[in-house]
Symmetry: C2
Subunit: 187 residues, 2 copies
């Protein structure tokens, strides 16, 4: 009972193939149609058994989180050179917002997972990248002193609403909104 | 065929009672649980026949629109006295945003119906009230010159996203967001 959990074993090649297939299928389905699609339907589209999906992803939330993790893994990890403090601060936000436009069915989940303390493995690396960018932009006088990372997460939640409620004009509405929202963070 | 449609007859008392009952039931259901609830379920909860609901509201959209119309009918119709140009401009926006918080299941529909040219009877009276407030606030130097009514509608769409993606903290998140968003409209 008190034994520490053994580290996860690497998956066998066919299990790894199935896992990748499920994630790719889920990405397409969620991004286009939203996260209401059932695990059973994902299994059917991926051409694998329902039990196979359930073994890897016991709940829909687990699968959605893993899909979002894959999409956002690169954000803030490889900051572009030559940006001023404001550009460096806004770059990862703009990247997240672009993911939301490209994957409208996942736009709300992206915001929620980044805001959720229960998903630290997705949230923490991005927040760890963002916090020093906030500090630097504030030190530089490019960002209001009372802005915190939660305000950035609010923008992502808000952008999900703009996308969901602008049928046929998602990209244009989101672009206008994000420009407005970022302006509100200026001193 | 070319006859003009006769004006709608006033409803008989029992028909009017049913209509009110359906609208009240739909309001409770949509506000709390969202607009995915079926017309059949609304009929069941209201204790009226499905055919009765369908006769008054042939589609779910028609029923949602009518519920939203009832909620927003007063907005901008009775402007408070003694407000400065900025307060007068923000008052109806804050009222709409408060409706979204109070009726989270309708938050997206409120934004969409106000944005939709296909619902002029809900949209136009509110926009007619808002446009002179925009003009006055701009003349007063309280509002950026490049702000248009569509930006206000973007805030409502965004607020719906903040509410939908802040489970358990809807009111607090919305309040913070709306303050940020309005700030972005200041010169």
């Amino acid at each position: 009972m008190d034994q520490p959990k053994p580290p996860p074993r690497p998956l066998r090649a066919d299990a790894e193939r199935n896992r990748k297939l499920i994630l790719e299928t889920a990405y397409e389905a969620f991004a286009d149609e939203g996260v209401d699609i059932s695990l059973a339907e994902i299994a059917r589209r991926a051409g694998v058994g329902f039990a196979t999906v359930q073994r890897r992803f016991p709940t829909k939330d687990a699968l959605v989180t893993e899909v979002v993790r894959g999409q956002l893994a690169h954000i803030g990890q490889d900051p572009a050179q030559g940006l001023d403090a404001w550009q460096a601060f806004t770059a990862p936000i703009l990247e997240c917002c672009e993911h939301q436009v490209k994957e409208p069915g996942l736009a709300g989940s992206i915001a929620q997972i980044l805001s959720s303390a229960s998903e630290p493995s997705v949230r923490e690396p991005i927040l760890d990248a963002l916090v020093p960018l906030v500090t630097r932009a504030q030190a530089d006088g490019a960002l209001r002193d009372d802005v915190c990372v939660d305000d950035v997460l609010l923008i992502l939640k808000a952008n999900a609403g703009v996308i969901a409620n602008s049928p046929g004009k998602e990209a244009e509405a989101s672009r206008r909104f994000v420009a407005l929202a970022l302006r509100s963070l200026r001193p």
